[in-house]
């Protein structure tokens, strides 16, 4: 018996209880509270309780609202990028590369654009790794070049060519004004331009605020989000570049 429809849970099954907060650019008065409740209603909260309102400066008011959301969550309609490859150990991965690819798998990574947040890509690439897992550099059969921060797209394309990269791994952490989307699109366009389809490395982006469903739209092969571990990435790489192709 698997549930297919659920609702948020406050303290009773099906109560739909949800908390919302936002600021409206209007001063605090009764009308503003009404406006906040109107928005809550549009969001599907019914009944909605306005439990906090505080004016900030002249023209803004912050609201906290609690209420029961009428929407149903339809579990069978949930869209999600599930892992469609087996999660392997580092030994296995090395063995597969060695036996089936018969050369080192070449990976080039970078933070592109003006983004200088390297901790995420370093966690994936550098030996040190993250969450107790070693990074890709640790895999004997991987050749890893980590170009660091604020790499331009032309520099990245050039390096990918020079290293004969099987995969290019790009990190984007800054998302303000959709910088991450903009930079990713610029990158994939450049690779499409620079290399014919068959010769292009696998293009992978990662970062905490990507929507993993957007891979197609952005022109990348895969997106990795919050909490990715190096082993997941390595497993995906051998799956896409070795196991799957040699089938």
């Amino acid at each position: 018996m698997t549930k297919t429809v659920v609702r948020p849970y406050g303290d009773t099954t099906g109560d739909g209880m949800t908390q919302v907060s936002f600021t409206l650019p209007i001063p605090h008065d009764k009308k503003a509270e009404g406006a906040a409740l109107q928005l809550a209603a549009k969001m599907g909260l019914d009944p909605a309780m306005l439990v906090h309102a505080k004016q900030m400066g002249d023209g803004f008011t912050f609201f906290v609202i609690y209420g029961s959301v009428r929407h149903l969550v339809e579990l069978d309609k949930v869209q999600v990028v599930e892992r469609d490859f087996p999660l392997l150990g580092s030994k296995e991965i090395n063995t597969i590369v060695k036996q089936k690819l018969r050369r080192k798998l070449s990976v080039v990574g970078a933070c592109i654009g003006t983004d200088a947040h390297t901790v995420g890509i370093d966690a994936i690439l550098n030996i040190k790794g993250i969450a107790g897992e070693k990074g890709l550099e640790y895999y004997r059969e991987f050749k890893v070049v980590n170009m660091g921060a604020q790499v331009t797209v032309p520099e990245l394309v050039a390096a990918a060519k020079q290293e004969k990269a099987d995969a290019v791994l790009v990190s984007q952490v800054v998302t303000q004004r959709d910088a991450h989307l903009y930079n990713t699109r610029e990158m994939t366009a450049a690779f499409r331009e620079a290399m014919p389809a068959g010769k292009r490395p696998l293009l992978i982006v990662g970062g905490p605020r990507f929507d993993e469903l957007m891979a197609g739209e952005l022109g990348v092969d895969r997106i990795f989000g919050r909490g990715t571990t190096p082993r997941e990435v390595a497993s995906y790489l051998v799956h896409s570049l070795v196991t799957q192709r040699s089938k």
Partner: protein, 521 residues
């Protein structure tokens, strides 16, 4: 927790205790010379009566009401009831007797001479059975604690569940225990405290709380026994021995191995408008039961600060703690059973409010060094701003660990909004874990500056408490309550609910439970 950080004058402390005794003594005398319908029902419950009629009214109520109608309660219910039991040929079955009485086929009398002696003997044997169950439960608790272990830290983490439905409460309580709670309290439906009977059976229909019933107690205790096993620490269960049925609920708690009970000497008077005399009589009996059952009581001084100002009325908390201590000791409770209440309720916008909280909390700690004080979170100054609420709760937790409180009732960021959601409890426990983990040892570095703000405040509050106690001793505690001394609630001794359930002892009043409970003394 090194003591004497406040440099309190032992002579003043001793004087305060002496005054509390003087203030409390007349009330104890009154309690010893009165009984109530609920005390009598509690005795009969110990003797084994159970069940309810078709309308849900417990047979014990039907029985005691009938006794009262027939002969009054001045001699206690057991004499007429066990006399009738002996006569009526129901084979010692109290419930059957009650049913018969309800059908009009039994009439009650006060037995005399050897009839009285027989009824006493019979009733004492029956009641002793009930007390034996309580004793067994106490041993069982000790065994389980030995087996599963005590909480890993002080203060113990105390969480409330409050869905109104025992079957929603159970998984929530188990989840809370798994998330770190050491004590689970099932709070009660609004209105239960004014019912002059204890509902029967498992219940799913409470408002903002779940009915306290023997079956609900049993279900929850069993569920938490499972959790204790799973978690490797004994999870305590708490309910409320308060309201018009305080003695009965205490009894049911003892019979179902509850571990703590909310049980204040004045809460019902002040916040439920229950008659003061009724309350004090009921309270003494319920505490005798708690003493016997090894139950830790939690007193309710925190409540005063929701209606009175926490700075102005700080000394009323101290006075009440001293009174609760006196009444508790008199009823046989030991220091380790005294979860005296106090709370973090100062207006957070007040300058130095945090240091004032520290002063108050430390004063309680040092006045009652051997009691597992119960430290209550902010409620009154919580608002719908849940972000701020969680912050305040963090500083409340910090006071708790800095001052060595015994029981920490975990504050919820949604205090001003709803009874706690599952996620509220999780966020709240995370808050507690952070504060105890990150700053649990900070008390070593917390040394109130000699003669500084904190010490001065504590001395000031203690001084005011002594002055107030002097006034109370002069004027009597009942008059002080009538005047609104506590929580600004004025409650005259001749008003309030349940006074008609009080009876003065007649000569020959007999109560086998009291006799057994006081035997050791």
């Amino acid at each position: 927790m090194n003591l004497n950080r406040l440099n309190l004058d032992p002579a003043v402390v001793q004087r305060a205790r002496e005054l509390a005794r003087l203030a409390g003594q007349p009330v104890v005398d009154m309690a010893r010379s009165h009984t109530t319908v609920s005390v009598e029902r509690a005795v009969l419950r110990l003797a084994g009566i159970t069940g309810a009629d078709a309308d849900g009214i417990p047979w014990v109520n039907r029985l005691v009401d009938q006794v009262r109608d027939d002969v009054g309660l001045g001699h206690g219910a057991t004499l007429p009831v066990f006399h009738a039991l002996a006569e009526s040929g129901v084979d010692g079955d109290l419930t059957l007797l009650a049913q018969k009485a309800a059908a009009g086929s039994v009439k009650f009398h006060i037995p005399e001479g050897k009839h009285a002696t027989a009824a006493k003997k019979l009733s004492k044997r029956a009641v002793a059975q009930g007390i034996k169950t309580i004793d067994r439960n106490r041993l069982e608790r000790d065994k389980l604690i030995k087996k599963h272990g005590e909480p890993k830290q002080r203060p113990w983490i105390y969480l409330i569940v409050a869905t109104g439905d025992i079957y929603e409460d159970i998984p929530q309580a188990q989840a809370a225990a798994r998330a770190g709670a050491d004590v689970i309290a099932v709070i009660r439906s609004t209105g239960q405290s004014l019912l002059d009977y204890v509902p029967e059976g498992a219940t799913r229909e409470g408002f903002a709380g779940t009915y306290a019933t023997q079956e609900n107690f049993r279900l929850m205790r069993a569920a938490l026994d499972e959790s204790s096993k799973e978690l490797g620490r004994y999870i305590r269960l708490t309910n409320y021995a308060s309201g018009l049925c305080m003695p009965e609920i205490a009894t049911l708690a003892g019979l179902q191995r509850l571990d703590m009970m909310l049980n204040d000497s004045m809460y019902g008077i002040l916040f439920r408008d229950i008659n003061p005399i009724r309350t004090f009589v009921d309270q003494r009996f319920s505490r005798q039961i708690h003493a016997r059952a090894g139950i830790i009581i939690n007193t309710g001084e925190d409540n005063y600060l929701t209606t009175a100002d926490a700075v102005e009325a700080a000394h009323t908390v101290t006075v009440s703690q001293l009174l609760n201590e006196y009444f508790a000791h008199e009823a046989g409770l030991e220091d380790w059973q005294l979860g005296l209440g106090h709370a973090f309720e100062i207006n957070p916008d007040l300058p130095e409010s945090f240091r004032l909280e520290l002063a108050h909390a430390l004063l309680a700690r040092e006045l009652f060094p051997d009691a597992p004080l119960k430290w209550m979170p902010p409620t009154k100054h919580m608002t719908g701003d849940v972000f701020r609420g969680n912050l305040l709760d963090g500083f409340f937790n910090l006071v708790g660990t800095l001052t060595g409180q015994g029981i920490l009732l975990v504050g919820m960021m949604t205090e001003a909004v709803v009874t706690p959601w599952l996620s509220d409890r999780d966020i709240a426990l995370q808050n507690v874990r952070y504060v105890l983990g990150a700053a649990g040892g900070l008390h070593e570095d917390f040394v109130p500056a000699p003669g500084g703000f904190i010490q001065q405040r504590a001395h000031g509050v203690l001084g005011e408490a002594v002055t107030l106690l002097e006034e109370i001793v002069d004027d009597t505690l009942l008059n002080a309550i009538a005047d609104g001394t506590f929580g600004i609630m004025k409650r005259p001794a001749n008003r309030g609910k349940g006074l008609d359930g009080v009876a003065k002892h007649e000569d020959g009043y007999y109560n086998p439970a009291t006799e057994i409970l006081e035997a050791g003394k």
